[in-house]
């Protein structure tokens, strides 16, 4: 593969030399597996091949809107439904590339807490209903995942006040489980694996596969770029998408799995024995699914993440590949 031997300067597919574009990038959670293609493209030189210089910055979710608005950050990876909230608040971002299609959140039960799985009687609603009266850990209860869980609980007939939310961002979920402060946690992006591997929790269900009627059609993670940056660098979205596409191919080639795992760990993915297997189970895709994005934006409205339904077509950058 050509990833290890980047060309001296970027070139477009026609072979003509192009100007190098510097892109400031930040993911809200470094090392999350849905965003892995970006880390691989960076590590394997696919961005450089496309004439993109990627400057990686680490910005907390709290500071990201300000960073995007003030032009400190040009590109961010995020869950698709969170983009609705950006647009609604005047933070003008556009989708430029898909990353992962399958919604990637799991419900884990603390050691010794019995929650029925989705295969048992009542399906996922029974699992969620079993959370009544329990303490539930999520990364930021007011964030997209917190609102999503609240919406699911309501779907299952559990009212606000019948459960307790506890903010457990990042590894705090592990600490909370170990200390017996939560009965269940919602986690994802590869951060759930160490919890199970260390015997702190057991897997109950995955939203994407076990609740197909809601999450089956949604796109999970995507790359967005600020409208201002696209205006100044009209070629940037397509170049980024091509680099991501190269990364997808690279990840999906079984021959590269050791290198992919190494790059993932280097970028911050928690190391577990099942990491290779886990990576291979992801549905990475660089092309943007308009239907998938629309489904995500509709869920954002239903769960109260955004107050309006945004038209997916208006949120996609020009010149990028869609399906």
């Amino acid at each position: 593969t050509g990833g290890h031997t980047p060309k001296p300067s970027g070139s477009d597919p026609t072979g003509e030399p192009t100007e190098l574009i510097t892109v400031n990038y930040s993911a809200p959670v470094p090392g999350a597996l849905p965003f892995l293609p970006v880390d691989i493209a960076a590590a394997q030189g696919f961005f450089e091949e496309e004439g993109i210089e990627l400057v990686v910055t680490q910005t907390s979710a709290q500071a990201l809107p300000a960073a995007l608005t003030s032009g400190q950050i040009d590109m961010t990876a995020d869950t698709a439904y969170n983009v609705g909230r950006y647009l609604e608040n005047g933070v003008e971002v556009r989708f430029v590339s898909g990353l992962n299609d399958n919604v990637d959140f799991t419900l884990l039960a603390a050691d010794g807490v019995d929650i029925p799985g989705p295969d048992e009687v009542g399906g996922w609603r029974a699992s969620i209903e079993a959370l009544r009266g329990l303490r539930i850990g999520t990364a930021a209860q007011a964030g997209p995942i917190g609102l999503t869980v609240a919406a699911l609980l309501e779907e299952a007939g559990v009212e606000e006040g019948e459960y307790t939310f506890v903010d457990t961002p990042g590894a705090a979920a592990g600490n909370a489980l170990e200390a017996g402060q939560v009965d269940a946690v919602f986690s994802g992006g590869g951060f759930d694996a160490p919890l199970v591997a260390n015997g702190l929790a057991t897997h109950v269900l995955s939203l994407g596969t076990d609740i197909p009627d809601i999450f089956g059609d949604q796109v999970n993670a995507a790359l967005t770029m600020t409208a201002t940056f696209i205006e100044e660098n009209p070629e940037a979205p397509a170049r980024v998408q091509r680099a991501i596409a190269r990364a997808m191919e690279y990840i999906q080639d079984p021959a590269n799995i050791d290198s992919v795992v190494a790059d993932a760990i280097a970028s911050g993915t928690p190391e577990t024995d099942e990491l290779a297997e886990k990576i291979q189970s992801y549905a990475y895709s660089a092309a943007l699914s308009i239907d998938g994005i629309q489904a995500a934006l509709e869920w954002a409205n239903r769960a109260g993440i955004s107050s309006t339904v945004i038209d997916a077509n208006d949120s996609i950058a020009e010149g990028v590949e869609t399906v």
Partner: protein, 282 residues
């Protein structure tokens, strides 16, 4: 060498002197009554001007209200969300008060204990410096593990900051107790406990309070940091929540509440200090 002649002609000199003296005494008194009418007026004025400029800048579009909000919006937001803000204020305040109280008492007690054994004092010095200087926010996950995502966890983080502030300040005070009073205790055969209660403790009140004044501010900081990292209630959590939800009016409303909490607690500490040190004003 040359020399001088001095002619001093002060008419009504005693009255003159009396006035000079009176003047300087009034100056001294004025210094005590800090809250003169002019001062308060200017303080209020400066607040009004600052808020007015903020409102105007926001209204005219000079600043982005998405991030900077504006005073009127903050007021409206606070009234609309009064109940929830009030509950979280109580939660933060409770944890702050506990953290402050426990950290202060422990800090004073450990300072007295450590300084009573000079070798221990010297051996622990570097430990105290190091533990004191670790950014506590980074330790929040460990506190979660030890104390859970409960009020205890917030209190513990606050204690871990206040404790060292008060410890270091009290220990410094203990090293500068008036030698005359220490000699008095010896000459009068005071028992160790009497020495502590009647000489050391009263002597250290000013330095203990120097620590407490810093302690109030850091207690709140500790609780809020803890709530921002992980918690089920409190103003710190609201900062994160409103920050994520583009509700900058909410962020500023919370900051204002925090400023009020700090102000009230600082005033209470200052008042206690003045009460305990009322003899200094005599």
């Amino acid at each position: 060498m040359t020399s001088a002649t001095a002619t001093i002609v002060t008419q009504n000199a005693p009255a003159e002197l009396a006035r000079a003296i009176e003047g300087s005494q009034q100056r001294a008194k004025r210094k005590k009554t800090k809250w003169s009418a002019l001062t308060v007026a200017l303080q209020v004025l400066s607040l009004v001007v600052a808020l007015g400029m903020w409102e105007w800048a926001a209204a005219s579009g000079s600043i982005n209200t998405l991030f900077f909000s504006q005073p009127s919006a903050i007021g409206t937001f606070a009234i609309a969300n009064a109940e929830g803000l009030w509950n979280d204020t109580l939660a933060t305040l409770r944890a702050t008060v506990f953290g402050f109280a426990i950290g202060s008492v422990a800090g004073v007690a450990v300072a007295f204990f450590i300084t009573s054994i000079p070798l221990l004092d010297r051996v622990l010095q570097p430990w105290i410096s190091v533990l004191m200087s670790i950014p506590r926010v980074a330790l929040a996950p460990l506190f979660l593990l030890w104390f859970g995502i409960t009020e205890t966890s917030k209190v513990a983080l606050a204690v871990s900051i206040v404790f060292f502030m008060v410890l270091v300040s009290t220990a410094a005070g203990l090293k500068s107790v008036a030698p005359d009073l220490l000699a008095l205790g010896k000459a009068f055969h005071a028992s160790p406990w009497q020495r502590f209660r009647t000489i050391l403790l009263p002597s250290c009140v000013p330095s203990i309070f120097a620590g407490l004044r810093l302690g109030v501010v850091t207690a709140i900081l500790g609780v809020v940091s803890s709530e921002m990292v992980a918690s089920s209630n409190g103003l710190g959590q609201r900062i994160v929540l409103y920050g994520q939800n583009f509700q900058s009016a909410g962020v500023f409303a919370v900051l204002a509440l925090l400023a009020i909490i700090t102000g009230v607690m600082t005033a209470l500490v200052a008042w206690s200090e003045r009460y305990l040190l009322r003899w200094q004003a005599m």
